[in-house]
């Protein structure tokens, strides 16, 4: 089994297009499970058109105050690092959207006035797109429990031969939560100054995950060669190049996988898939 995270420092580099295309190509040889961990904007389903089953809610614990037992001692508030609970002389206020669900306040409460209740923060849906199993998490708007949601998605991982994780863009906690435990991280980068800047951040994050890193240059030829130069300098393998082609963007904007109508795109994805699974027994 191999676990491949597809990530990028910058948004809009083609990460989901690459992840979904890889999943389809790999499913010709392996049992593939694609986990859409970009829970603030899950969109692999837009390209794969799976038959989704009924979505299930994902909840997270938040504190509730049973007022008669509370003497406003303030220990719950002192225990909260996120200021999600405030104690005033007459009332205790909870700000559920700031709560990280750690349960510290409930443990700190000496009077038993606090208990945990479950708050729904999003949902998980699952379905098949041909032979590819897709699991997708979507966080409700305004919620901050991104990492909690990503972990819930990752707990759905099956014993597939290849697991593809579509990570959220960036290099903060959500990206880390999606990459953690991956054997390989594919960083999709644009050949532009902006693309290089965000690639540098993504490389640092991926190194923390301890995975093997490969770079895919998307829209190759559209910018300059600074991403290529950087990869050569630090000996980061460029495992694929997808040529800049308007037809790819057109297919994407229609909700189609570009490989079906753009043969050179399909060949680029196949080459990347082979490199990623060279050591996986078919």
């Amino acid at each position: 089994m191999t676990r491949i995270a597809v990530a990028s420092g910058k948004g809009g580099t083609g990460k989901t297009t690459v992840a979904a295309s890889l999943a389809v190509v790999l499913s010709r040889r392996f049992r593939v499970h694609l986990l859409d961990c970009d829970v603030e904007a899950p969109n692999a389903a837009l390209l794969l058109h799976p038959r989704m089953q009924q979505a299930e809610p994902v909840a997270r614990p938040v504190p509730v105050v049973a007022d008669p037992e509370c003497d406003r001692c303030g220990r719950c508030s002192d225990a909260c690092r996120f200021h999600a609970i405030a104690v005033t002389p007459h009332r205790v206020l909870v700000f559920p959207e700031l709560c990280h669900g750690c349960g510290g306040c409930v443990r700190a409460c000496p009077s038993g006035a606090l208990r945990e209740s479950q708050r729904t923060v999003g949902e998980i849906a699952e379905g098949w797109a041909g032979p590819v199993l897709l699991t997708q998490g979507s966080l409700n708007p305004g919620e901050t429990a991104t990492v909690h949601m990503i972990r819930a998605v990752r707990r759905r991982e099956t014993n597939a031969e290849v697991v593809v994780l579509d990570a959220p863009p960036g290099s903060s906690c959500p990206a880390v939560a999606a990459m953690r435990g991956a054997d390989q991280v594919v960083l999709v980068a644009e050949p532009t100054p902006f693309g290089l800047n965000d690639l540098l951040l993504a490389v640092e994050t991926a190194r923390l995950a301890g995975a093997r890193i490969g770079v895919v240059i998307n829209r190759d030829g559209a910018g300059d060669n600074r991403v290529e130069r950087y990869c050569a300098e630090v000996r980061l393998p460029v495992i694929g190049r997808i040529a800049d082609n308007r037809k790819v963007a057109e297919a994407y904007s229609r909700g189609e996988l570009p490989g079906r109508g753009v043969p050179e795109f399909a060949r680029a994805i196949e080459a990347i898939a082979s490199r990623l699974t060279a050591e996986v027994p078919a």
Partner: protein, 117 residues
């Protein structure tokens, strides 16, 4: 009566700090004793989120009845309301001038929070 002023410095000659949660200091004027004391805003300025909540809580627990500041966000405002602290707009003056204006009834009470920022 205790009146708290968000201030840019540690003395009453300093300007009212228009930021509430991340104010440099809080100065407390006790009208019964006609005296000023310093209530440091120690942790809130460093907080990633919830600086206003924590600062509001500190002020409520201190037993203040009025707060003079610039802008207050919705969460901090909810805590101040729960704690019975009335909020007045006093930026653009020194802390001392703001308290004098408040006592003369010349400061406007803020009855709802500013948008989140």
């Amino acid at each position: 009566m205790k009146i708290v002023v968000s201030a840019a410095g540690a003395g009453s000659e300093n300007e009212v700090d228009p930021r509430f949660g991340r104010a440099a200091n809080f100065l407390v004027f006790d009208s019964a004793r006609e005296s000023w004391t310093l209530l440091e805003n120690t942790q809130a300025p460093e907080a990633a989120h919830g600086a206003g909540i924590q600062a509001a809580e500190t002020i409520c627990r201190h037993g203040a009845e009025a707060l003079i500041t610039g802008r207050v966000g919705p969460k901090a405002f909810a805590v101040l309301s729960a704690g019975g602290v009335k909020v007045y707009r006093g930026d653009g003056r020194t802390a001392k001038e703001a308290v004098e204006a408040f006592r003369a009834g010349r400061l406007a009470e803020i009855k709802e929070s500013d948008p989140a920022y």
